[in-house]
Subunit: 205 residues, 4 copies
DNA sequence: CATGAATGAGACTTCATTCAT
DNA sequence: TATGAATGAAGTCTCATTCAT
């Protein structure tokens, strides 16, 4: 599915165990918060003892790092494809929102963690890269919105920065309640969100 | 409710100091997260030693409780006034959004804490009241939206539950970046948000 | 006795507690080795719980650092006084050996720790200063020996470097068996050691 | 004694590999200290995984035991030969010192480990034999020195116990800096050490 | 009111050891 | 013989909390 899948010969090289454990950890981090999650809780959820996790990972922090990095890598693959497609501003926003909901669908836990923890994680040297990602992110969205205002497809009477935050938050907080396989596909949710964001919820418009 | 509990000391109350300390604590909780905040950090920010805080408060948890309860009490005063005013659905939504941004302005730290921590706090007996509040909250917003759809002032082609989450998230996440006194008054932000939520960001529509 | 004694007013400022605890820790480190010494053992010896030590010290390593640094600081005070006195090579060696036994008398535990642990501690960034000290040390002794050979007071038919190691080790390993108050004063031991080192143990010479 | 214990496996002995691994282990123990040496470090140095060592040895402790026992066995072979030769006190001392440097040359790592760890190892039941060895050792040296004083070949004005420690330490600490093949042969070092110990480093005397 | 010192529970982590393959 | 994965005990350290002064 993703770019990191490897062959599965005889005598399993088992990078899948890592991935399994990271998925488990991400789930617990998302549910309880990184700090409130003890290594023991992760181990319990994985059916092993706390110390055993250290055979696979250096530290609790490195698990978090790997979870977030994996997510961000995939996110940027998707975003970069969209941004390179040469679409108009409205179509770009539509594609970015759709891609975002797909990522939420794939990495729900990672996104939820990112939402809750990224702000104060950025203070730690190890997580400086989150700030870089954030800047690229802002540049992509804000630039597209500004292009849209210039092209006359987005309203010019609004504070663009406020609009940017509005759209950004609106999309990503969805990770806090979204459950994959729950009636709405990511594309369906994206379509409805886009409809609200672009045209509003009021009748007439 | 629990916000008015007194300490089991013999000496005088000292209400000012208490509020100062809670404001300090709320600021630190919001910046670093409740779990990552040590009592010592709060004490540092308040210019005292960790142990000294226990003259004023029973526990770290009781500080959190008092911070959130104070905020929710004021929030509901405002909401209840709006809901009792007998406005139409659109005007109700407008008034609730405006009131919400006023609360964010007044209790930024508390709102940010609430956003980040309420989900898992609800699991603790002491914070069950957060779930009650959440249910009342949902009832107020969802009910108003449904009334608006029935009245034909809000679009009927959208999933109303999704719309509820959209409006709710859209408003409250603002607490994560809002800084009082930063160019936009709460009323101005409310107006722009409402404009986006109701009419969309696209030209024409 | 040493340069760090402070006044003992009312409401003790208690830097003595630190010193007491460090003395206790040094004793245990010396007896069991740094790595084999658990923080709990130190705390037991001090009559408190393991965690309580962290009110006074940042870490087990910082205790070790402070123990060694205090010793080395005092050692160099003594050595520098000797080296600045403008004595002849033989008198300098005599004074250095005597001063060394005085330091062993005062800082037996620290010296024993230094002997056992300094070599591999130097690999840790925090303990790089031990290597500096070692170089100064070598310079002082080796230089004096070479001066003595040039002046004709020390034998020229020996490898000076070997002689340096011989004298150095000979003096400092004494810390591994020396017990203060055990019959011999440091000056008495110094005199006998010097007699052996300078004139040999064989009759005639 | 315990050095010849076999593993409880069914397969072949493999004596070479065993010795190689012990040499590797001894090197690491000497460099980092027994406690600070993890089984994983030994395995790394041997090019295998930590668990694999347990095919060859029962435990980390048994490796240490075998290293020290092998050394002590050989040491006593040499010492016993010297002591049985019926030499005079001075010649006995000379022969013991020379033999000691030969052992340091052959078992540098083991000697270094012995120096650093024997004191507190003696507390463990498994290593009580070190105390026996130490007592025999003291008897051999101290006895020879006393015989020499009685015969008038060693000075009688020195504390004989102090002299014993002086000679003993003087020889064995050399293991902490000696590197085989480094310019001086063990016999050459022995000759210089003996010259210093017997006749002193001062000219004339 | 506040400090200084301590407690005790529990967190993260390390490591010798085991064992199926 | 060796590997990969896990165990379980123990170690260092953190932190909310208490309490005499």
């Amino acid at each position: 599915m993703s770019a990191t899948k490897k062959k599965n010969q005889v005598t399993a090289p088992a990078p899948e165990r890592r991935r399994e454990l990271l998925d488990t950890a991400a789930e617990v981090f998302a549910a309880q918060g990184y700090n409130a999650t003890t290594v023991r809780k992760i181990a319990d959820a994985a059916g092993m003892l706390a110390g055993s996790l250290y055979y696979h990972f250096d530290s609790k922090e490195s698990m978090l790092d790997e979870i977030l990095s994996t997510f961000l890598t995939e996110l940027w693959e998707g975003y970069d494809a969209v941004l390179a497609a040469g679409l108009g501003p409205r179509e770009t926003i539509e594609a970015l929102v759709t891609e975002s909901f797909r990522e939420i669908d794939r990495h729900r836990a990672a996104v939820a963690i990112y939402q809750k923890e990224s702000r104060h994680l950025m203070d730690l040297p190890r997580f400086h890269h989150l700030a870089d990602s954030q800047r690229r992110f802002e540049k992509a969205w804000l630039g597209t919105l500004e292009r849209g205002v210039a092209d006359g497809v987005f309203r010019g009477d609004l504070d663009v920065r406020l609009t940017y935050r509005f759209v950004r938050d609106t999309v990503w907080v969805a990770a806090s309640w979204y459950r994959p396989g729950g009636g709405h596909s990511p594309e369906e949710i994206a379509r409805q969100y886009l409809s609200m964001v672009l045209d509003g919820i009021a009748v007439d418009g």
